[in-house]
Symmetry: C2
Subunit: 248 residues, 2 copies
DNA sequence: CGGAAAATTGAAGTCGGTCAATAAGCGTGG
DNA sequence: CCACGCTTATTGACCGACTTCAATTTTCCG
């Protein structure tokens, strides 16, 4: 849940988890992990390129240096669910032996890759490592659970607000301005992340704009104008009759 | 994802995970964990009693011997999202330092409780233990991810079918008949688990009954009549125009 | 520039929700 | 054992939030 005063995610676990999700490690307390990734290989992937596919054996864990990776799962008939977006500082690939979903670059992405077998070897000498990995997966778990609540019970407008606050919070953790939110992914990605359609995402953003909650210069960047109301929406604290909850 | 032939969950990870969810450990390969729980204290809780509440510090992990625990999260205005149901054989309480959601008994439940600090001590002597715990949380992660896909992209009928197949599969893992599914929780719990309303759950079950997919004697037990169609629905492989996808 | 992809807007339809009523359990106590 | 009262489940009628289908506009790159 977001709080208004400090704009900070409820850090319930030992590890600070900026709403990173499945497979994504916490950023704080991650020094241990990062020291291992520092010895990893740099890998760059272009927009639309897959880091791995569903069913692939997991061989590496990755620390994002820049860019954005979309983790998603396809249904047989083409429907898609985006589980999480990973940003700079996030660690992905620790959650599976065999990948259960696709990982694709939403924008040009640079990562550090380490072999999982090597990581396992290291864990035998360094007892702290396994604990950090465990904490990382655990914090991922908490993030996905929050996502479940969003998908399960929030209305369209609340989901979008939640998403924007999530982006703002995570941008802030990377040292970006909190009232300026960049949206690196396309609308269809946002829609598949929030269980909505592209059209609903557009319409909701438009109504937010008209209500003075946000301002948009480009399609991929917006300014937060009324963070209080956005927060209330994001946390499900808004008035049930607030028209911003709805899309139309 | 479910498969028809063996009625078995895709065991993608090393640990067999019968669709158990957040905080719920895998059942297979769990011998290590169980040996520790064997030295735990027996605790019994009655229907409606809370095992813990959101915000509580996590002090114990529990292995369910019988009954059913509902893990849920409340929104400020009373909306509720049920994250998972834990059944006999499942382990809960390993996913958090501070609990992020409530745990309440759906029916009379008996559990084995061990202290987390004690478990941590043991982990120092037994390197395998931390690995098993890690695997447990990892498999929980995978389950919640599946749930995200369900909530994000499946229609009402598909969600109910998925839920029934999940119950059947997990009952089967506990040695129960696969074509006889018991539903220990109330309709409102099912609704909050699937992001629907009580009425939609009822209506969908009725239409399943009328279509010959299931038969119901009591409200809390049903017989699976057409598992093939239920499976197809559950996995999102049904015809987009199949009326069973819809509620009405 | 030009052409395709992406974003946005509009109009109409529908799935699932809301509100309301009825039925079915279920435990308690006479 | 049955009557009573309460909770839960089910069904019906209506409604509306979101989707679907269909333009139109904007953006992005060659």
């Amino acid at each position: 849940m977001f709080t208004f005063d400090h704009l900070e995610y409820s850090a319930v676990d030992t590890v600070r988890t900026p709403s990173s999700g499945a497979d994504i490690a916490a950023v704080g307390r991650q020094d241990v992990l990062e020291s291992y990734f520092a010895r990893g290989a740099i890998r760059k992937i272009a927009v639309g390129q897959m880091l791995w596919s569903e069913g692939d054996e997991a061989r590496h864990a990755y620390l994002l240096r820049s860019g954005c990776i979309r983790l998603s799962q396809m249904l047989p008939d083409g429907r898609r669910a985006v589980h999480q977006f990973a940003f700079a500082g996030d660690v992905i690939g620790l959650g599976s032996i065999v990948h259960g979903r696709d990982a694709e670059a939403v924008e040009a992405t640079s990562l550090l890759a380490v072999s999982l077998t090597w990581l396992r070897q290291c864990a035998k000498d360094d007892p702290a490592l396994l604990g950090v990995i465990y904490a990382s997966v655990r914090s991922s778990l908490r993030s996905v659970q929050e996502h479940v609540t969003v998908l399960s019970r929030l209305a369209a407008g609340e989901r979008i607000a939640h998403f924007l606050m999530e982006l703002a919070e995570r941008g802030r953790n990377r040292g970006e301005s909190p009232d300026r939110v960049r949206i690196p992914m396309r609308r269809v990605d946002v829609a598949d992340y929030l269980g909505l359609t592209v059209e609903t995402v557009c319409r909701t953003l438009t109504s937010f704009r008209k209500a003075g909650l946000i301002a948009m210069d480009n399609a991929d960047e917006l300014r937060v104008l009324d963070i209080r109301r956005l927060m209330a929406l994001a946390n499900g604290e808004s008035d049930p009759h607030d028209p911003m909850r709805r899309a139309s």
